[in-house]
Structure formats: C-alpha cells, structure tokens
Symmetry: C2
Subunit: 195 residues, 2 copies
Amino acid sequence: MTYAPIPGYRYDDPEQAPSPVTAGDLDGLAAATLFTEADVAALKLAGEVLADQTEQILDVWYGFVGSHPHLLAYFSTPEGAPIGDYLAAVRRRFGQWITDTCTRPYDARWLAQQEEIALRHTVAKKNVTDGAPSVPSVPLRYLIAFVVPITATMRPFLAAKGHAQEQVEAMHQAWFKVVTLQVSLWARPYAGAAW
Amino acid sequence: MTYAPIPGYRYDDPEQAPSPVTAGDLDGLAAATLFTEADVAALKLAGEVLADQTEQILDVWYGFVGSHPHLLAYFSTPEGAPIGDYLAAVRRRFGQWITDTCTRPYDARWLAQQEEIALRHTVAKKNVTDGAPSVPSVPLRYLIAFVVPITATMRPFLAAKGHAQEQVEAMHQAWFKVVTLQVSLWARPYAGAAW
C-alpha cells in the first residue's frame, strides 16, 4: 500500500469544478435507491473490511474486463491494442474509488468528484487525464451494466473478515445502493436535460 | 387474475417497431451483466414462483412510489395531482412486465419491447399510450436508481414458496442481472450516440 499521490486524482483539489447536481437531487436519488444512514454506517465498516483487499478486488475486476475484448476495448487503442500505462493509471484511481465510496461524506466535494468521474467516461474528458491514445468514450450502457459485476463480485471480500452474516448482508446492500446511486450520477452528462 | 387484453400492451404486435439495438449489442450487455443460460433457467423458475404474487409485488412497488412525492410526480399532473387512471393503466402493464421478464425469449421481439418501454419513459412517448395529462418524461437518473428497489424488494417474494436458499439466491441474482440489463437498454433513447 502506498501513500504517494495518485496521478490524476483530484478529489481534494478545491479548484475542482462543482457539480451541476444539487444536494436536493442527491437526496432524491438517495430515497430512490433506499439509501439511509444505516447504509452510511455499513459502508464505514465495509471500508475497514476492504482496506487491505483493494488489490485483490482490482485483480477480479481487471480480470473480468481483460477477458472480454468488447470491454477491454475502452482501455485500448482504436485499433484494439490494450494500453498498459492507461490500464495501470486508471487502476490506481479505481482502487482509491473503493475507499472513497466507503468513507467520504456526501457533500458538494463528493458530488464534484462524481461529476468528474462521469465526464472522464465521455468524449468531454476520457483519455485527457492520462494522455491515453484510446477510444473517445465509454458507452453509457456499460456504465449501467457494470452495476452487476461491481456489486456481485464484492460479496466474498466483504465476508472475508469473519463478520456475521447480517453484517455482511448489510455491507453488501449498502455497496449495491451506493454504486447504483453513483452510476445514476455518472449518467448525467450522457442525458443532458433528460437526466 | 384476468386474461383480458391489457390496454396499451403490444408485446405480441408484429407491427411494433424493431429496436435499433442488435443481437450483438445484447450479447455484449449480457456478458457485462454476467448474464448466462443459468440465469435464464433461474428466471424461468422465478416466473413460476412469482406468478400468483404479482399484485402483492405491485402493492410494494406502488407503495414505495406513492410514499415519495418526488417519484409520484411522474404519475401526476404538472401541478402535482396523482392521476389514478394512469397509475392503474401502468400497473397492469407493470405486472405483465414481471411475467415477461421471467419467461420471454431474448429475441428481436424482446428487444423491440424493451425499446418501446424505453421510449414510454421519454418525451417521445410518455403519456401517449394512456392519454395521460402527466409530466412529459421520467428522468434517466430514476430509471437507473430503481434497479435497487426493484431488485431489493423482490427477494421475499422469491423465497415465499419454500425453495432452497441457493435456489432463491440464484433467482434473485438472475433478477438483478436482467433488471440491470433492461435498464441499460432503456437508457438508449436518453443517450443517443453515446449509448
């Protein structure tokens, strides 16, 4: 585990542009995803449970993407050659995203970070952070579809520290909710006024 | 249970417009949502388990929407008055959607029906089927967010017929996958070329 700065990770940069999404919008999404204070507590515990498992989780996720050419394509050149530096740079931020998802408060900075993540999947900002010679965007349909693998693969990691079945279930449900909520936020630049 | 035709339900209408989504696109989404033949089998069983519970499921879902004014708004007039006829008309098709989700083959007609459902959430077609004087569209963010309640609330109904824990889990995971896959399809008209 390293504490060196992560290139392209700007969560704590006060210059990061604010999100157009309001606190009221977020409240509406939290209600729609059944997300409550109990989930915040369960995610805090999940953050402790997952802290030393980040690399193994990323191995699973990268293994999944790497085994499907139509998904690996978004980390590849337009000609289809995977870009190792790009995969590695995103991986470091993806690991930090797990931690942030479990531990960060749901404030304006959190919303700004979600908007930044959203834009980095679209033609507006994909590839820019890493100077990657990759395809111009990730289709929205795969952001949504990934709710499944990002949720389903998490359970054994949440269960790995010997917590009671009900605690594991609570952590897993909280994870499912907050991932779905974030994907809802990441869909914003794709849908414009219809978001 | 009634077998009278459901107003506005056109699944079996050969005149229904084909979807712009291809079988290849669907295969890509199935892979991204971990959806396999085992899930098809689990959904078939789920269809049997849920067949006589549709009204109770809809009671839960309608109770959830009805208890949140910011969600009930999409079944209401622009001034905020819930439209009883519209709620009732959609409810009949929503019940049929549960059955269709568990039992229909994943063919061109299935894709056409997904596209029709998608459009009926957007400015292109919302309200038209029922002549409802409601707001013009459902924001994409709530379609995505609803993956959580539509998934989480289903488990007790899947468990209600005494199946083994592993069978209930398999049915629930299959339901989660196919709902997420369908929401991915329903996002298409919102995102255009970025879908």
